[in-house]
């Protein structure tokens, strides 16, 4: 038995009648907006904060590599692939004797460009389609939902490969298109569902009653209220795109040389496995750490923005 309850704290102290109005000192709790609250929750998630830091480093590396890499990507024969790692070449050399660190840095650039551009592109298309389908309903909804329904039954990868097969020229742009063709559908489905629910709410009714036109209602009233899930979904699009590009490059469908992709580097490193492992492990880890970082950010955002969906 730990505590013994006594009569002293049987509830809030009640002020005698008559003086309560004069000395009413109760302080209203500080008003916290949804976003501040979400940010507070997000900050508490350690894994997400680590993810933020890691992803920031990746972004920085990508930016630096535009202007500078330790060695030129074209400089071959700098050293032997089986040579031990040194301070000058902390990640060693690849099979052509090129500096692996420089390639990893440049690879970050490719990953970031593909990841972020795809996420942005996909989100814009998906949000527009989802808003239109959910807001106007009728034949617009029938067409858009029909397309997403068909797309649901076919593995995204196969559709993407078909697009690449038809375009027949690997480039960052084509890779982004190939991925966007399928992944906008998830975003559209999400936004459609949110819009269908939101359009019945009182504030939308009120806006309509005051004569607000459709487009402003969608952008000013519906969209901001659906932003939480949209941000979460968009965040998860980044690692999906990076993963997909690496996947294509690994299989040899990626970007033309010398644009280095981590996926292609893993593939090349696999060929060196009887000599050394670092050419395979280093790009693999770069990829894995980046993907995990962004996924942790996404997990944290989901928990912060939608407390109902815990784990």
């Amino acid at each position: 038995m730990t505590t013994i309850t006594t009569g002293q704290n049987m509830g809030p102290p009640i002020a005698p009648p008559g003086i309560s109005e004069a000395t009413d000192y109760s302080i209203a709790p500080e008003q916290v907006s949804l976003w501040q609250d979400a940010w507070r929750r997000f900050r508490r998630n350690k894994l997400s904060m680590v993810g933020m830091v890691v992803f920031f480093i990746v972004l920085l590396t990508a930016f630096v590599s535009i202007f500078w890499t330790p060695y030129s990507l074209y400089a071959q024969g700098l050293g032997d692939v089986a040579a031990p790692l040194t301070l000058q070449h902390p990640f060693g050399f690849d099979a052509s004797g090129r500096d692996v660190l420089s390639f990893i840095m440049k690879g970050a650039q490719v990953a970031v460009v593909v990841g972020v551009l795809t996420a942005v592109f996909t989100s814009v298309v998906g949000i527009a389609a989802g808003l239109a389908a959910g807001f106007f309903r009728g034949w617009v909804d029938t067409v858009i939902s029909g397309i997403t329904y068909i797309g649901y039954g076919i593995p995204n990868l196969l559709i993407a490969f078909l697009i690449l097969f038809i375009t027949n020229r690997p480039s960052i742009f084509n890779v982004i298109i190939a991925l966007s063709v399928t992944s906008w559908m998830d975003m559209a489905r999400l936004v459609r569902g949110q819009t269908l629910a939101l359009r019945e709410r009182e504030f939308v009714e009120a806006a309509r009653a005051t004569g607000t036109k459709n487009l402003p209602i969608m952008i000013r009233h519906v969209l901001p209220n659906a932003l939480g899930p949209i941000i979460v979904q968009a965040t998860f699009l980044i690692p999906a795109a990076i993963l997909f590009e690496a996947f294509l490059s690994f299989l040899g469908f990626g970007l033309p040389s010398p644009d280095p992709s981590w996926g292609a580097m893993v593939s090349a490193g696999l060929q060196d496995r009887f000599l050394t492992y670092h050419t395979m492990i280093i790009p693999s880890l770069a990829l894995l750490i980046t993907l995990m970082a962004v996924n942790f950010i996404g997990d944290g955002l989901r928990d912060a923005l939608d407390p109902r969906l815990k784990r």
Binding site: M1, T2, T3, T5, T6, G7, N9, M10, G11
Partner: protein, 345 residues
């Protein structure tokens, strides 16, 4: 008569963020062989936790922290996992409030009953299989062979509770604990289930512990009544005695709050003012004093023990209702509030 189940000083608590919830706070009662005991109280009085404690089924983060539970001379709280497993459903079985959710939806009803027997070694597997339709017939489920092969969703609520009773009786336990067995059912079905329990008690001699918030149910089938309030026993005794001369103000108020068919129309009903106490922060003295209309000074500071007030009759109160002369005068001041939850506790 010999006691088959004896509970002494039982305390069950939940450690939560806001403090300690004293769900059961030191209760004593006993169940004799073949007896029917009613445990009565409001929601939150600790009656269901008492039942779960007896089978050591208190859900996390709840814990039995003190007291003893003795079944047939064996200490239930000292049993290891295996002994406990053999005890549950074999010596004491239990049926629950909501028959809709108490049966596993993906297993056939007959199988669930058979499984209860297979878990123990009273019957051989062949006997267990053969007993299923017999048990279902005993609880008056028509066409038992066919019904045994059906799933719970194909049963009505009353039938599911009958199936639960059949399951509870399958190992011929000494005691059957029924936790609000009729609350979730239609009124007509309630009467049938209660009748069923009473018949089974007579036919098989199984002692029944009936947990309820409904005094009328107790009057119907129990020979002994335990009234609980704030995790304590406040009054207990033979049913007739308690109903004829309740001595604790809480019991007295409960009985006065039931509409009686023999009272003339327009008669006033008593309501118990206030809410059940906060179990994390109990009042000092008698736990009922904030809601009691017969308090004396010591009620506010000193908690009474269970005191003998008549033959086999105990009450936890400084005041005996028999000694309160003007006890009915109070009722006239109370406005008629025909709220169902107050009328039936």
């Amino acid at each position: 008569m010999a006691a088959i189940l004896e509970v002494k000083g039982l305390k069950t608590q939940f450690i939560v963020r806001g403090g300690i919830v004293r769900a059961v706070d030191g209760i004593d009662f006993r169940v004799n062989k073949g007896e029917t005991v009613g445990i009565v109280g409001e929601s939150g009085s600790g009656k269901s936790m008492t039942a779960l404690s007896i089978l050591r089924l208190v859900p996390e983060p709840g814990k039995i922290v003190e007291g003893s539970i003795t079944f047939d001379g064996r200490d239930v709280l000292a049993m290891n996992d295996d002994q406990l497993r053999k005890f549950r459903g074999n010596d004491i079985s239990m049926i629950f409030q909501d028959p809709m959710s108490s049966l596993n939806p993906v297993l056939k009803v007959g199988y669930q009953i058979e499984e209860a027997m297979r878990a123990h070694d009273r019957f051989t597997p062949e006997e267990a299989k053969a007993r299923v339709p017999l048990l279902l017939r005993r609880v008056r489920i028509p066409d038992p062979e066919r019904r045994a092969k059906e799933y719970p969703h194909q049963f009505s609520g009353g039938m599911r509770q009958r199936a639960m009773i059949a399951m509870g009786l399958s190992n011929e336990p000494e005691v059957l604990i029924a936790d609000e067995p009729t609350t979730a059912l239609d009124v007509t079905v309630q009467a049938q289930i209660l009748e069923q329990l009473r018949d089974l008690n007579k036919e098989l001699g199984t002692a029944i512990v009936l947990i309820t918030h409904n005094m009328a149910v107790v009057a119907n089938i129990c020979t002994w009544v335990v009234v609980m309030y704030a995790g304590r026993v406040v009054e207990q005794g033979p049913t007739e005695e308690i109903f004829r001369s309740p001595q604790h103000p809480y019991t007295w108020s409960l009985l006065r709050s039931i509409p009686r068919i023999d009272e003339k129309l327009g008669g006033k009903l008593l309501t118990i003012k206030g809410l059940p106490p906060d179990l994390t922060n109990l009042p000092p003295g008698c736990k009922f004093h904030p809601r009691c209309r017969f308090t004396v000074d010591r009620c506010f500071t000193e908690e009474p023990e269970l005191m003998t007030v008549g033959p086999q009759h105990e009450s936890r109160c400084w005041v005996q209702m028999d000694n309160v002369a003007d006890r009915d005068s109070d009722i006239r001041e109370v406005p008629v509030v025909p709220e169902a939850e107050n009328a039936a506790v």
